[in-house]
């Protein structure tokens, strides 16, 4: 009699992938917005949500709002899915690394041609 092996189905990892990827995207957007606000007076004025803090208030508020929105959308779409987590993780770390790079002032200045 042949032995029947039970192979467990791939576990659902969509919610974790959503959390990881959205965090990477959020950090990336923070860096991009920081550089963009530094380079554009119009954007800096638009992001001046709280005058005593200046454009930093808008940069961080928008980045956090987009991060949480991205997290909610991805979590809803991937709620019951099993994804290639290594690929999602690599993408998240890429976004995170770019976010760190954009927050580094010499890199921002380089991007703005200063």
């Amino acid at each position: 009699m042949s032995e029947i092996k039970l192979v467990p189905p791939n576990p659902v990892n969509g919610p974790i992938a959503a959390a990881v990827l959205s965090c990477g995207v959020g950090c990336f957007l923070l860096g991009v917005l920081a550089v963009a606000a530094d380079g554009s007076k119009r954007l800096a004025a638009a992001l001046n949500f709280y005058h005593p803090t200046g454009p930093l208030s808008g940069v961080t508020t928008v980045a956090i709002a987009l991060w949480l929105l991205c997290w909610m959308v991805l979590a809803a779409r991937w709620r019951n899915k099993s994804l290639a987590f290594v690929k999602v993780s690599a993408l998240a770390f890429l976004f995170l690394a770019l976010g760190l790079l954009f927050t580094f002032p010499p890199f921002g200045d380089l991007m703005l041609g200063r």
């Binding site: 990881v20 965090c23 950090c27 987590f85």
Partner: protein, 191 residues
Amino acid sequence: MEITLRELVTSIHGMLFGGFFLLALFGAIVLLLDWSNPDRSNPDSTPAQPAPRWQTLYLIAMVVLGWGAVLSGATIIYPWYRAVAPPGADLALYPKFLLTAHPSTAGWHNFGMEWKEHVAWIAPMAGTMVAWILLKHRAAWNADRAVRNTVLGFAAVAFVAAAIAGGWGAMINKKAPVQGGQSYQLMRSAK
């Protein structure tokens, strides 16, 4: 022995929120490394269980400290730091202008503060994600090495970002302290 309101709030921002957040992140990384031990993370040997209550409270406290640090910094301390000095004002009360008034100190603002004010936010964002996965998806953490490595990586980046922000904050506050406001006497001076 006196302390001004701005000095007190800056201390709470940096030493209470920022300092304890950094300590908590380091503790969380140690905890994660311990949990990553193959004997403890093997799903066959340790069935998925919710995190003990103290770990839940620890991770929530870590997240609260992180957000407390960046929010108090951005909404209370930073406005004092960057306030525009009126002509003829004592620049000691306007740290940004005190630093940028001299080429030898301008880098503390143009490089240090510019970096700190943005990179700091990455720490609580990553810290929140790490805590959420550990509290809500412990089973996946136990079962999947890739998840463990990813969470550890983000926790390490959060620690580095918090250390950069905290380090620059401490150094900038030594060069151009945020001061002013009402004074409080902590202790009578010895004669």
